[in-house]
Amino acid sequence: MALRATRRRLPISAPTGVGIFALRRLAYTNLAACVALCAGTRAPAQGLGVTDDAGRSVRLAAPAQRVVSLSPAITELLFALGAGVQVVGRTTWCDYPPAARAVPNVGDGLSPNLESILARHPDLVVLYDSPTNMVATTRLNGLGIAALLLRQDRLVELARDARILGRLTGHADRGDSVAAAISSVRQAPALGLRIAILAWQNPPTVIGGASYLDELAALAGAENVFHDLASPAAVVSLETIAARDPDALVVFADSGGAGTRPEGLAWQAIRAVRSGRIIVLVGSRFGRPSPRAGEAVVEFRRLLEAGP
C-alpha cells in the first residue's frame, strides 16, 4: 500500500478553512474497536476497479448505491454526476447543491467519525487523501467497506475524480462529460493585475501556490504575488505583503459578514488597503474545486475587472 507519509497539501474546503484539517488530530481508535464489534463484514468481489490518489486499487462488485462523502468538493461532484440520490452521508461543510443539505450529516469529517459513518451502512466512503484519512480508510477496509482516497487541489485532479466516481457510481458517461467540462475551463487573458489572497488577517495568512484558489486566480487572469509559496496557505509578515505590493487584496466573506476584511492601523502599510482595493469573494464556488469552476472563473474575472 503506497502511503506518502509526508504530504504538504491540505484540502481547502471552506473559503477560509485553510489548513484546518491539519489542526485537529483527535484519535478515534477506541471508537473503531467498538464499531468492529457491532458491524458486519462483507467480502470484496470482482467488478468495478479503479486506482485512487493514494495508489490503492479499489474494487466494487457493483456500482455503489450508498456513498458517504467526507469532502464538500466530492459531495458537490457526486450531485453533478447525477449520483446525488446515492449519497447517504456528508460532512457539516457540504452545503452545495442545496439538496446536499438533506443528506444526513456524519460529522465535520476532519477526523472521520467511524460510528456515524457505519450507521449509514455505506458501500463506498470517499475521503480526502490525507494521512489521517489513510488511517480511517484502513479501518473501513477492515470492516469490509470500500474507501477511496481522492485529492481535489487542482482542476485536473477534480476531472480525474469525476471519471473515477462516475465509474464507481454507475454514471461513467456523465463522469466523462463532467470531466471534459472541467478540463475545458479556459485561461482568461492576463489582466496584468497582481493580487494577494488573504485567508486570515491575524496572523496574516495568504494563499500560496499549492492551492485551488491560486489556480482560479491564474485562470481569471490575475497573478497571485504569493504563487511562489509551495503550500496552500502560509503565515507571512505584513511587511512581506507590503513589499510585494499587490494591486488588490482578495478576501473572503464568511456567511454574510465581512469578517476577514483587514482592520487595524498596521494594514495601512499596504497600498491595496490604503487605496481601498479590496475584492470580496462570496460563496462556496471559490473555496473548493467544483464543476462550477467555469462560473467561478467568470465571476472572479468580473470582480477583478470591476474593482472594489
Partner: protein, 312 residues
C-alpha cells in the same frame, strides 16, 4: 557596567529589529518607508513592551509565590485569555480590538478566580493556592475553550488556535500607545514592592518583623503581575518562556535584589522578545514563524543550562 551593557543590548535589539526584515529597504528610503514607519518600528516597540511586561511579571510572581517555576502563564491567565479570545472569535465580534479586549477580560476573570481560590482562610493569599488554583483554572478554561471550539465552526477553530499561538503580526502604533499608557501603573506597583519582595525571600515571619505586610504585598504583586500578563496576552497571544527564563537569566547577572532585578527583567524581557520576533520574521522569510516557537527554541536550552548550574 552590567546595566549599561543590558541597555546597550536592548538598544541594539531594537535597532536590529527595525533595520532588518523579510524585505530589503534601501538606506536612502529608510526614514520615509511605510514598511519601516508603519510596520517595523511599532512592531519592535510592541515586542519590547510585551517582553518587558512578561519578564517583570515573571520575576515578581516567582518572588511572591516563592517558586522559581512560576510563570505568568502558569497562573491560569493564558487559559482565561484563550477562552475570552475564542468566545469573541466564535461569536464573531467585529472590530480589530474585539479579540484583544475579550482576551484581556478573560485573563482578568481567570485572575479573579485564582485569587478567590488562593484566599485560603479569610484574607491571606496562599502561594500554594495561587499555583494550584492557577493550574486548575487554566485547565478548566482550557476545557471550556476546547468545548467552544468543537462546537464552533472550523473557521473559528482555526482562527482561535492561530491567535492562541501568539504573535506580534498585528502590531501597530495604536497598540503601542495603548500598551505604553497602560504599563506604567502595574510596573510602578511592582517596582515599589521591590524591597518587600527581598524580605519575603526570608520567609513570611521574618518579612513581617522587617515591616512587610505579607498579605497586602502578595495581593498587590499578584494583581499587578496579572495585569501585565493580561495586556501582553491581549495584544500578542500566549508567548511562553519569556516570563520564566528572563528572571532566571537576569538573576544570574544582577543578583537577587528586586530593585535591580525587576527593571533588569523588564529590559531583558524586552530585548529577548524583540530579538526573537526579529528571528521569527526573517528566518523563514517570506513566511513567518510564531514568535512563541522562537522563544521556546532559545529559552528551553538556556533554561536547561541554568537548571544544570543550580543542581551542580
Amino acid at each position: 557596567m552590567k546595566r549599561a551593557g543590558l541597555l546597550l543590548a536592548a538598544l541594539a535589539a531594537l535597532i536590529l529589529a527595525v533595520a532588518i526584515g523579510p524585505t530589503h529597504v534601501p538606506w536612502s528610503e529608510f526614514a520615509s518607508s511605510p514598511i519601516v514607519r508603519t510596520l517595523r518600528v511599532p512592531r519592535a516597540l510592541l515586542a519590547f513592551l510585551v517582553g518587558g511586561a512578561l519578564g517583570t511579571a515573571g520575576a515578581a510572581l516567582q518572588a511572591v509565590v516563592r517558586n522559581p517555576l512560576a510563570d505568568p502563564f502558569l497562573l491560569g491567565l493564558s487559559g482565561g485569555a484563550g477562552l475570552g479570545a475564542v468566545l469573541a472569535i466564535a461569536a464573531g465580534l467585529p472590530g480589530a480590538w474585539a479579540t484583544p479586549l475579550a482576551a484581556f477580560a478573560g485573563a482578568l476573570a481567570a485572575m479573579a478566580l485564582v485569587y478567590r481560590i488562593a484566599l485560603a482562610q479569610g484574607s491571606e493569599l496562599d502561594p500554594r493556592g495561587l499555583i494550584l488554583g492557577g493550574v486548575a483554572v487554566g485547565a478548566f478554561a482550557g476545557a471550556l475553550t476546547t468545548a467552544v471550539v468543537s462546537l464552533a465552526d472550523a473557521v473559528a477553530l482555526r482562527n482561535a488556535l492561530l491567535w492562541l499561538w501568539g504573535g506580534l503580526s498585528g502590531a501597530s502604533w495604536d497598540a503601542v500607545v495603548v500598551v505604553a499608557v497602560y504599563l506604567p501603573i502595574p510596573l510602578a506597583v511592582l517596582f515599589a514592592a521591590a524591597r518587600p519582595l527581598d524580605l519575603l525571600a526570608l520567609g513570611e515571619e521574618p518579612a513581617r518583623y522587617l515591616g512587610t505586610d505579607v498579605g497586602a504585598l502578595r495581593r498587590r504583586v499578584y494583581v499587578a503581575a496579572s495585569l501585565l500578563t493580561a495586556v501582553a496576552v491581549a495584544v500578542s497571544g500566549v508567548i511562553g518562556f519569556v516570563g520564566l527564563i528572563v528572571p532566571h537569566g537576569v538573576r544570574a547577572l544582577f543578583g537577587h535584589r528586586h530593585r535591580a532585578l525587576l527593571p533588569a527583567a523588564f529590559v531583558g524581557g524586552g530585548t529577548l522578545l524583540t530579538l526573537a520576533d526579529t528571528v521569527a520574521r526573517v528566518v523563514v522569510a517570506p513566511r513567518e514563524l510564531p514568535v512563541g516557537i522562537v522563544t521556546a527554541l532559545v529559552g528551553v536550552p538556556l533554561f536547561a543550562l541554568l537548571v544544570r548550574r543550580w543542581t551542580a
